[in-house]
């Protein structure tokens, strides 16, 4: 029976659509990220946060940044110089959290973060978020967690959707998707375009830290094609290709361009009902270039190319135990005009095994071990993980575990040599060690009637944290400042999260989620706080949402949604004068803020949906547009229309 269930889960997971029967809180939905095997959310041994297509639609999120900051407490997006985005995910930066698209890694980074605007939310079936170290299954960069974005499959014989949304600052989002499903073949083609204009913001006099005066918009195009062929009930082949383009116009004469070309082939074979094999090849190329408007030339200055081969095999036993064995090979190529040399290649290889043991009706224990090898500097790493789930009651789970996370130094961090307009030189460090984190966590969830409660605590002890250090002069060159990548000792982050949600039969539902994050930043030998490259996580964050939905007749339905978030203030130790470090450091206070969004979605018939929303309902305008404040200049009216042409009658 269990093997039949496993097979069914595999099929369902690969089909990707949500099972919603008997699932007030999606507990019957299948998730795959925590153990790399399909599990019902209520049974998964690693705590997993599931964001469904329904959540994404309700939030009307454009990309993953838009979604996470409205849905996940403890996640904040701030900015670096030039308004480049930086994520703080419960104390971990962009390189400490692994983003996956249908299980595949993404090439390219800017200021250590992936290009979030590339991760659009159109045609996303669900997002699975596993907090805490997961390097025993996912390798480097999974120290802070894994965010796996899983796209929709085509269920109906054909689908054709067009949609558009308009808002302030000439913001527009226009998209379309075309799906076909016939016999053994399924195809989904989607095209999406976004645009937001640059706009100016006004700061009060005498800011205490750097501020933004122009908010840069962008223009994106995202085209995705996926073809699925299932010659038998046990075999599935998926081919995909994608193109992404983004342009940011910081200066009129030199718009910055970002492009991504991706392709992949994946084969899934259910060999016996108990044995399952998956093989895949993935190609991802992320390029950056500057367009010279005067001479009409487009000059590339960055390219990261990843070729990845993956294989994973599962065997399940009648008792419910599952063995997972996998291996990956990646060739990583980096061209960056700011490297000490022109380009760098690296091969990496890994192998891992996991055993999921159903010890009893109430106990489940999962152990995993992974070996990673990196050809550059011949670095290798062994990462273990051990997790347990205890079910004292049918509707209650207690989970706890330990996991090791690591992040191999990026090629850029080893070989960078960037002269920042003559002010200082950011330089790589070939001697960097891998950043290693030890993650301990415990969580509990309980469901009773229309109510669901979850609570979790975690502690991360991070050794050899990789970051840029203190600017310094060389003894041979007292005029030029250098900023090196270094390993920091003594970094830790601990915190917790508590969520209560309810869904009543009258169409009303509510959710409140609170996160506490405490970063223990590195200190110098005298025990004093040193300058922190990025502003630390805000200690308290609270998310509130209330939804109400009613179908008044066959032809008319209405959904109302109120979302709010509150983020506490935060202090950061920064150089008084970043370019004259002899003046020492001081504390900069960044204020708390709250943002609310009210939206109304009206459904006309089965095909039409009109959404009207007011973002930043309380018309919040920051006094100073610091690098960690929301870049809003007040309330924003958004109007959107979506038409499912296949449902027109």
């Amino acid at each position: 029976m269990k093997k039949v269930l496993f097979f069914l889960l595999l099929l369902t997971a690969s089909k990707g659509y949500a099972q919603q029967q008997d699932s007030t809180f999606y507990l019957q939905n299948v998730v795959v990220t925590g153990t790399r095997t399909p599990k019902l959310l209520k049974d998964v041994p690693i705590q997993t946060r599931l964001i469904t297509a329904e959540d994404i639609e309700r939030i009307d999120a454009t990309n993953v940044e838009d979604l996470l900051q409205q849905e996940m407490p403890g996640v904040e997006f701030s900015y670096a110089q030039n308004q480049l985005k930086h994520m703080n995910f419960c104390g971990f930066g962009g390189q400490g959290v692994l983003f996956l698209m249908d299980g595949e890694r993404l090439a390219g980074e800017t200021m250590d973060d992936v290009d979030f605007s590339r991760l659009e939310m159109a045609n996303v079936d669900r997002i699975e978020i596993v907090k805490g170290a997961a390097s025993a299954l996912y390798g480097s960069n999974a120290g802070g967690g894994v965010i796996n974005i899983i796209t929709k499959d085509v269920k109906e014989p054909w689908t054709l959707n067009v949609n558009a949304r308009f808002a302030k600052h000439e913001e527009r989002r226009v998209g379309g998707s075309w799906g076909l499903n016939r016999k053994a073949w399924r195809n989904l083609l989607s095209v999406n375009h976004t645009f937001t204009d640059n706009f100016m913001v006004k700061n009060a006099p005498d800011p205490k830290a750097q501020v933004v005066s122009t908010v840069y918009g962008d223009c994106t195009w995202n085209v995705k094609e996926r073809l699925t062929f299932s010659p038998t009930a046990h075999v599935k082949l998926i081919g995909r290709a994608g193109y992404f383009y983004r342009q940011v116009t910081r200066t009129f004469d030199n718009p910055e361009r970002y492009r991504d070309y991706s392709a992949g082939l994946r084969g899934l074979w259910d060999m016996t009902g108990q044995d399952h094999l998956e093989l895949s090849y993935s190609f991802d190329q992320y390029d950056k270039s500057d367009y010279h408007r005067i001479t009409k030339i487009d000059v590339r200055d960055y390219s990261n190319v990843q070729n990845i081969f993956r294989g994973v095999y599962h065997h399940s036993w009648d008792g419910g135990d599952i063995l997972t064995i996998g291996a990956d090979f990646m060739h990583d190529y980096l061209m960056n005009k700011n490297l000490g040399r022109k380009n760098i290649n690296q091969d990496s290889f890994d192998a891992y095994a996991q055993y999921d043991w159903m010890a009893s009706e109430r106990w489940e224990v999962v152990g995993a071990l992974r070996y990673d090898y990196f050809s550059d500097k011949k670095d290798s790493r062994l990462s273990p993980k051990l997790s347990a789930r205890y079910q004292p009651l049918e509707n209650m789970n207690v989970r706890f575990g330990y996991g090791m996370g690591f992040r191999a130094p990026a090629l850029k961090e080893k070989y960078y040599n960037f002269d920042m307009v003559g002010i200082w030189i950011i330089q790589g460090n070939e001697q960097l060690k891998s950043e290693v984190s030890h993650n301990f966590q415990a969580s509990a969830d309980y469901t009773r009637g229309q109510y669901n409660f979850t609570a979790s605590v975690y502690y991360n002890d991070v050794r050899n944290k990789i970051a840029t250090g203190v600017p310094h002069y060389l003894p041979t060159d007292y005029k030029q400042l250098y900023l090196d990548y270094v390993n920091f000792e003594n970094y830790a982050v601990w915190g917790g999260e508590a969520t209560v949600q309810a869904r009543w039969s009258n169409g009303l539902s509510a959710r409140m989620s609170y996160a506490y994050t405490d970063e223990r930043l590195p200190k110098n030998k005298e025990g004093q706080a040193v300058n922190n490259q990025y502003i630390p996580a805000r200690r308290h964050s609270l998310m509130v949402r209330v939804d109400w939905s009613k179908q008044f007749s066959q032809n008319y339905g209405l959904s109302l949604s109120l979302n709010g978030r509150f983020l506490s203030g935060v202090e950061n130790v920064e150089f008084v004068d970043y370019y004259d470090i002899s003046k020492g450091t001081n504390k900069v206070e960044y204020p708390a803020y709250t943002l609310w969004k009210l939206s109304a979605a009206q459904r006309f018939g089965k095909a039409w949906k009109l959404t009207v929303a007011v973002d930043n309902l309380l018309n919040y305008k920051p006094k100073y547009y610091y690098f960690n404040c929301p870049l809003t200049d007040g309330a924003n009216l958004m109007v959107g229309l979506s038409i499912d042409l296949n449902r027109l009658r």
């Binding site: 195809n187 750097q210 073809l227 190329q285 390029d287 001479t295 487009d298």
Partner: protein
Amino acid sequence: MKVENSLFAGFSIFKSFVAVGSFVLMSGVLSSCEGAFEGVYDDPDKEVSIKKGQLVVDATDWQTWHYIDLLEADAAQQKEGKGYSAIEIKIPTERLEASVDEEHSQHEERAGIYTYWYDVFGEGLSKREIRQFVPTKNQDEPASWHLAVHRNNVRTNGGAVYMTAYTSMDDLPESSEAFGEVAFTEDEWNETDVWTVQEKMLQGLIGNQGIKVNSLLSSWLKVSLPPVPPTFTLNNHVFILKLKDGTFAALQLVNYQNAAGVKCHLTINYKYPY
């Protein structure tokens, strides 16, 4: 139903197309670990041809004036395969030891490096305060020159400038007589715009050379701070330069960066005598 059938018919063709396309794509991709689609981009090292009546000056260096003799530029262009090289003369930054009076007086117009603090992260360059003055010797000049460029600054050799409404050299009137009645702007003393010492720029401190410049002709390239790094704005209007010997030249900045994106790499259209 018709829509559905035609969609499926299209789908069959599409499937074959995608299958073949995928195969070709995968073969192409696998053959190169260093990526594909190189043809999308342009080569920054490709030599750009210099047109007739055009000169290129690499004026990127903070501490160098580039002196241009338009007759020499013309002569150099006549010789096949040889571009014009402006005469480079360094800006003096060494303290003039003979001087004992280092207190700055705004009316003295003394050669030297004037360090100003600018409100780079706030109100911008217009809000500034003098912080230091270091006297230096006067700027050296070659025997013969018409204009000199330093990054976004331009000086004339005793000339004066008028900005026309034209944005193409081809649209100019036949002769400079058309500008006989207009008001020309002469060079003026300046100690805030010729950025020479950049070490403390992000502290808002910039060392400027005290020297006469032509603010109108310098407006062909405007530098704005904030943001950091600064932005450059090209003004492609044609300027008329009246030289001290009474002759005229027409000048137009058409580009300020090279193919690698380096700023203050100037491409200038000129017509002399005009």
